[in-house]
Symmetry: C2
Subunit: 273 residues, 2 copies
């Protein structure tokens, strides 16, 4: 656990500052990669979400939709936030994250202030295995089959796969495009709405469970943050409904340690060959 006055890895890697002369700047951290120098799309969304909150009267991103124009390089990047309508309940804005090569990510952000109110209605959380019975991705990096790059991301986000969905790591893919895992930051930093934006894209592609370990670049990703997560592990499920014509969807549901649904996301990605 970090000491109180330490900055956690996530907060350092997603820090956004006001530049002299206006505008916002950040420094994209190469440690949040998914292989080949490609930064994780959820990590980039957390950076954009932090910029949206910084320029909003509200505290939390509740709905963010991102188009991934191109993969930005690690290093200095700038953020522009164009405000939309704003009211007592919510505010809209448009965030563009650019590196030296130009815009990389365009995000529509809705911010609001989430409370701890109980649900009026909630689908129950599915039965999940205890975390100690799950498969640690970080502890098994050396087992990665040829061609599977274990991403830097997996050192930042401690990911414990439900063994029922981890067969692909042992050459025995389940044949169903579903992955489930307990997840938390490796340094113990507790989850919050900005963290959920990263968690919503932090599992391997669901196609891994189909025996295809190619890259599935995100085209467009929407994340809804539904509640403030309680401290502790989050449980994350990714599921695809259809793989067709070179496209795949990934649907995430994230519950906190109390079993509350705290986030939902859906992305369209290019299916790996």
């Amino acid at each position: 656990m970090p000491q109180d006055d330490d900055v956690t890895a996530f907060d350092a890697a997603t820090a956004v500052e006001r530049a002299e002369g206006g505008g916002l700047v950040t420094r994209l951290d190469p440690g949040w990669d998914v292989g080949g120098g490609i930064l994780n799309g959820g990590y980039l969304l957390s950076v954009a979400g932090r910029a949206a909150v910084l320029e909003s009267p509200h505290d939390h991103p509740v709905a963010v939709s991102a188009s991934y124009l191109r993969a930005p390089a690690a290093g200095p990047a700038s953020l522009s936030v164009v405000p939309g309508t704003a009211g007592r309940t919510l505010a809209h804005s448009m965030v563009t994250l650019s590196d030296a090569g130009g815009p990389a990510l365009v995000v529509q952000a809705t911010t609001a202030t989430l409370t701890g109110e109980p649900s009026d209605y909630a689908e129950p959380m599915p039965d999940v295995p205890p975390v100690e019975e799950c498969f640690s991705v970080a502890e098994h990096r050396h087992l990665a089959p040829p061609g599977v790059h274990v991403p830097g991301l997996s050192l930042k986000v401690d990911t414990r796969l439900d063994v029922a969905t981890a067969g692909w790591a042992f050459g025995q893919p389940s044949g169903e495009p579903v992955l489930r895992a307990w997840m938390r930051f490796a340094d113990g930093r507790e989850p919050d709405p900005l963290a959920l934006l990263t968690f919503a894209d932090a599992l391997p592609p669901t196609s891994f469970a189909m025996g295809n370990t190619g890259w599935a670049p995100t085209v467009q990703l929407q994340v809804l943050v539904r509640a403030l997560p309680a401290p502790g592990w989050c449980f994350v499920e990714a599921r695809s409904s259809q793989i067709a014509g070179g496209w795949v969807d990934e649907d995430y549901r994230i519950w906190d340690s109390t079993g509350r649904l705290v986030a939902q996301s859906r992305q369209l990605a290019r299916a790996p060959r």
Copy 2:
């Protein structure tokens, strides 16, 4: 069925033209309302999607995310399309729909060209009742309980509710936030990707099935179009996972007449009081 050289109601109401001196214009049709002069969010998204396709090298919207800033008035409106990156497979753009009061809808659009390729993987369609056993919303307008406005939309989009999810129309809400219906345009215009953008927001709010017939204004809506729909009826399911803190999600899945998943959507809306 319209004659070949007629323009269908949907194509007329979503027509987008190049204005003299540049830019795109449309005329928002008051007939696509959900009550109180409020135009349906899916209808507005179809207009924006048509503008995106018009300015794209590709034929179909495959991923669109819209932030609903304010409800635009029926009548003249303008559209601006700012291109993002574009390639052989897909193109990104940003569409803003504005009326005299300013921007109403901001949409991130990804366009591509969908083909008739069969799926590599697809979740099976659920068992659904035959259309002739379903409940016609248009034919039962006069039965609407006090306070329920039957929208003009329901005259444009022929909606046949699965009676298992139509109890609210008879004062017997199911208590589960799920609605299911067969859907097609009333004039027989066949479905296509632009039509699916309307269908993805054309059911009543799922909170109707909880016995709450208040309005649930859309805050942000993402639609993924997964395949070209076959002619005939589409089957549309809307489901909420959580109602909490004044927010509700609505998740749509749309299958065509052959049982193929052709669209998915998710929106965050304000829960009715």
